[in-house]
Amino acid sequence: MARKVVITGLGATTPIGGDVPTMWKNALKGVSGAHTLEDDWVAKYELPVHFAARASTPALDVLTRVEAKRMDPSTQFAVVASREAWADSGITEIDHDRLAVAFATGIGGVWTLLDAWDTLREKGPRRVLPMTVPMLMPNGPAAAVSLDLGARAGAHTPVSACASGTEAVHVGLDLIRAGKADVVVCGGAEAAIHPMPIAAFASMQALSRRNDDPEHASRPYDRDRDGFVMGEGAGALVLEAEEHALARGARIYAELAGTSVTADAYHITAPDPQGLGATRALKAAMFDGRIQPEDIVHVNAHATSTPVGDKPEYAALKAALGKHVDSVAVSATKSQMGHLLGASGAVEAVLTVMAIYDRKAPVTINLENQDPEIPLDVVTTARDLPAGSIAALSNSFGFGGHNAVIAVRSV
């Protein structure tokens, strides 16, 4: 019998709230974190997209200037969210050799990398900061969180594009089940609202161009969706072996019942139109968590608001849940905060845990004309979830054909 793993701490810094209570209040209300970018580089480089969803609380409002100096913005977000999750867990004493970190990013230290490239070209090699490499490396967030919390049972960095944050939760579960750690701080962070990634995503036609109306640009499942909205921030969860949590009388939000990761092996960016890889991931996560389709009351969907991406997820949910798919309250929270890329799965895991704990499904905004080919029961005003034993799923899919799913159960 595998060790049971529970969630005892949550943290987040997002475009709709700089901490979990604020984010959750807004997620139930339905707000948009997308705004026009005021940066001079938007006009300077004639970017085709003029808006994004910035973190509502800048990391520098939380960290000291000197702390922040040695961290890429993505790492700053990771530290902010993981400190909140850690404080929230109430853990005061811990065997640090049994505490691990699994912290993901999709893109990594893109600001640091490109700033250093500019410095090299404009001022020469002498002016390239000595901290450049540790700041730009993709394991920067995991390493900083490990250093900050004294986590010595390993610091891992799953990288699977927009599935990274969810895969980090998967890795965390595995570490505890395998007996390699008793507590894992897992999550994902991203800070890629930079002209180069915006240009690159726009170039592949992935971003919404609703420049005159940013707040209504992210509209998953809507007939008029035209791409995703770049977001930034981080989410963090404290996973704990159940016996460890019970021994210290911890407040338990929910059980992390099961997780799974699959690969499409279909195309480098396009999702398998039938959602076969996603279907296998959904089924595997439910199998892993000993969950039947009928137990599922809520899904936090990947639903990025791209014309091609939203449909295969519906196909996968239908294939995995059967006719029960019609009875599931589906939330597309990227409608509110945009797409946090490698952080999105972690933030959505936090939202899914809150949905189970609070028994409320968060809101999908901007759904005006639902795509008739995606007849899901989409939550557009906060909805109560039933009493009794309930479970929820959170999906994430990433370029490269990565599919990751977590299954959360009430306790």
């Binding site: 000291t64 200037r65 000197v66 002498r126 002016r127 900061l129 901290m131």
Partner: protein, 81 residues
């Protein structure tokens, strides 16, 4: 040409920016590593910023000889002379 006092004040500002240490703590007889707890990476950042501020070149092999704040002030003053 800056006076030793001006160099000290400028250096203290750079140290404060990099480490958060109060500028007043940066005194001539203080050791960068022992007293100010500055690691090698911060030291290199301070050196590069000092080069730009004072218009001097501090060769990498020279940095290990700059044990105290006073050593750095003297080196910069001589380099400017």
């Amino acid at each position: 040409m800056a006076s030793n006092e001006e160099i000290l004040a400028g250096l203290a500002e750079i140290v404060n920016e990099e480490t958060g240490l109060a500028a007043e703590a940066v005194e001539m007889d203080k050791s960068f590593t022992e007293d100010l707890d500055i690691d090698s990476i911060s030291m290199m950042t301070i050196v590069v910023n000092a080069e730009e501020k004072f218009g001097v070149r501090i060769p990498d092999e020279e940095v290990k000889n700059l044990k105290t704040v006073g050593d750095a002030v003297s080196f910069i003053a001589n380099a400017q002379a």
